[in-house]
């Protein structure tokens, strides 16, 4: 007879790394793991029916939209007559707004190229695999606190430098002021929320605070990108008029 105990219990404290489970393995038996058994339904007809419902909802919404709003149609294309402003389709207006700030090489090629490359590599760089909060390691705290203002200043300079170098003297002061400060708004919003989240505890009783405090770095980067995309697209679509000057969408120009 050996001295080994008949059973052995093991307990890990890090639930994320090792799901908490106690295994009693008796001699001459093998451990058996019960996998999580989710309820399953048949693809045909349950899932297919659900898709058809979704399809019909989309169809009905679009039919209603098509009956109420007509697609725009202007005069026949005339290469001799350039409209002012000449705008790209709405989903490219964020890019077109960047073209107002940066040379085409940067705004039209470098930035979109980097965005597409970044999107493609996301799943290959252990990004957010564990979904660990950006505040999870206390040692990282000062770095994060310093990085946010630095990044904000960097973005501000990025948009400000072209203003002072090629100086669009023709634009009025209000336009130059807005050109300078509007592109920084998304960075301020998301950076502010990031710094705010440092004050909340992941165990906070308030759901929103708990939610914000648990967000990983990748969440903050993607959210910054999304807000920047929305703001630039909205600016290009609604707030840009002749000569790419600032206009109010409800005023005709």
């Amino acid at each position: 007879m050996s001295d080994e105990p008949k059973e052995r219990a093991e307990l890990q404290s890090d639930v994320r790394k090792n799901p908490r489970r106690i295994a009693f393995i008796t001699r001459r038996t093998s451990p058996q793991v019960r996998t999580q058994d989710d309820a399953r339904v048949m693809t045909y007809p349950t899932a297919l029916l659900k898709f058809i419902v979704v399809l019909q909802v989309a169809f009905l919404a679009l039919v209603w939209w098509s009956l109420t709003v007509n697609a725009p149609l202007e005069g026949i294309a005339d290469p001799m007559h350039t409209p002012n402003p000449a705008k790209a389709p709405w989903y490219f207006l964020g890019l077109q707004d960047l073209l107002h700030y940066f040379p085409p090489m940067v705004a039209g090629v470098l930035i979109p190229g980097l965005v597409v490359a970044a999107l493609i590599v996301i799943p290959y760089f252990n990004i957010n695999i564990e979904g660990r909060s950006i505040w999870a390691k206390p040692a990282h705290r000062p770095w994060v606190m310093a990085a946010v203002p630095l990044f904000t200043v960097l973005i501000f300079l990025l948009f400000a430098i072209p203003q002072f170098t090629h100086g669009d003297g023709a634009l009025p002061a209000v336009d130059r002021f807005l050109d300078l400060f509007v592109p920084i708004v998304p960075t301020l919003l998301v950076g502010g929320a990031l710094l705010l989240s440092s004050r909340y505890s992941p165990q906070s009783p308030k759901p929103f605070q708990r939610w914000l405090a648990g967000k990983p770095l990748s969440f903050w980067i993607m959210t910054w990108f999304m807000v920047e995309l929305i703001v630039l697209t909205a600016v290009g679509t609604f707030f840009r008029g002749p000569g790419w000057s600032w206009v109010l969408p409800w005023r005709s120009y």
Binding site: H81, K87, V109, N128
Partner: protein, 244 residues
């Protein structure tokens, strides 16, 4: 004879069985065969987690994007019956859709708004997938296919933008194609290849038409097929584990 027995008789007929193989009956075996023996449906597994079909994990954004694509294919084919990709006939066709073709305005509206909706939904789908972490291993490659599908969606919308040949479409495409000039070394060559000339003209219209109606949709259908097939190969739609 009730409707039900009528259907059963049809499903038991030699013709029906020669097409769909499985006869009458609604057992799980019959339902599994309905998926396995169908060219389109066999991309999917026979069974699916019921939690993956709920609203919360996906908001049905992928299904909605696919729905807009279906609507675009159908309305697009109908529009092709009334359209000539030549200058200035293309613009005259727009006017015909407006004043001559029955429901022509509605048809064009539906195609255009569905296109805008698809661009928006594809972006929304991407962000939703990111935020719930559904791109993580083993689903990395399907995310990459998704990025290419987003680019295809943008290209489809952009090439379609020129086809009405009005001021809006002409100058929007001019602005967009000027960006291509900035690409180092081969920018001008790329723009020439895309437009079939140095200007947006009749050649560009024809090229955009072929891209919009043939090349890009075929590429999209192929990638959509792979995108759906990979869902199955990567273990079904991602649903987070239940918290106990």
């Amino acid at each position: 004879m009730t409707i039900k027995t009528g259907f059963e008789r049809i499903r038991n007929s030699a013709l029906w069985r020669s097409i769909f193989r499985s006869g009458e009956g609604s057992s799980n075996l019959h339902r599994a065969q309905a998926v396995q023996q169908n060219l389109l449906l066999h991309l999917f597994s026979v069974k699916i987690r019921s939690r993956a079909l709920e609203f919360k994990p996906t908001w049905f954004l992928g299904a909605l994007t696919l729905s807009t694509f279906f609507i675009l294919v159908v309305t697009g084919i109908l529009l092709m019956f009334y359209y000539h990709p030549s200058v200035p006939q293309a613009y005259a066709d727009m006017k015909d859709l407006q004043f001559v073709v029955a429901s022509g305005v509605f048809l064009r509206n539906l195609h255009r708004w569905a296109a805008h909706a698809m661009v928006f939904l594809a972006f929304a789908h991407m962000f939703k997938v990111f935020y719930r972490g559904a791109y993580r291993p083993p689903r990395q490659f399907n995310w990459v296919i998704g990025v290419f599908l987003l680019l295809l969606t943008l290209l489809l919308s952009y090439t379609g933008y020129l086809l009405p040949w009005d001021q809006l479409s002409y100058w929007a495409v001019t602005v967009g194609s000027n960006i291509a000039k900035a690409v180092p070394l081969m920018g001008d060559k790329m723009r020439f290849l895309l437009l079939g000339g140095h200007e947006v003209n009749a050649n560009a219209l024809l090229r955009f038409y072929v891209l919009h109606c043939v090349i890009l949709p075929l590429a999209a259908v192929a990638l959509i097929g792979v995108h759906f097939w990979r869902i199955r190969k990567d273990g079904g739609l991602y649903v987070p584990e239940k918290k106990s």
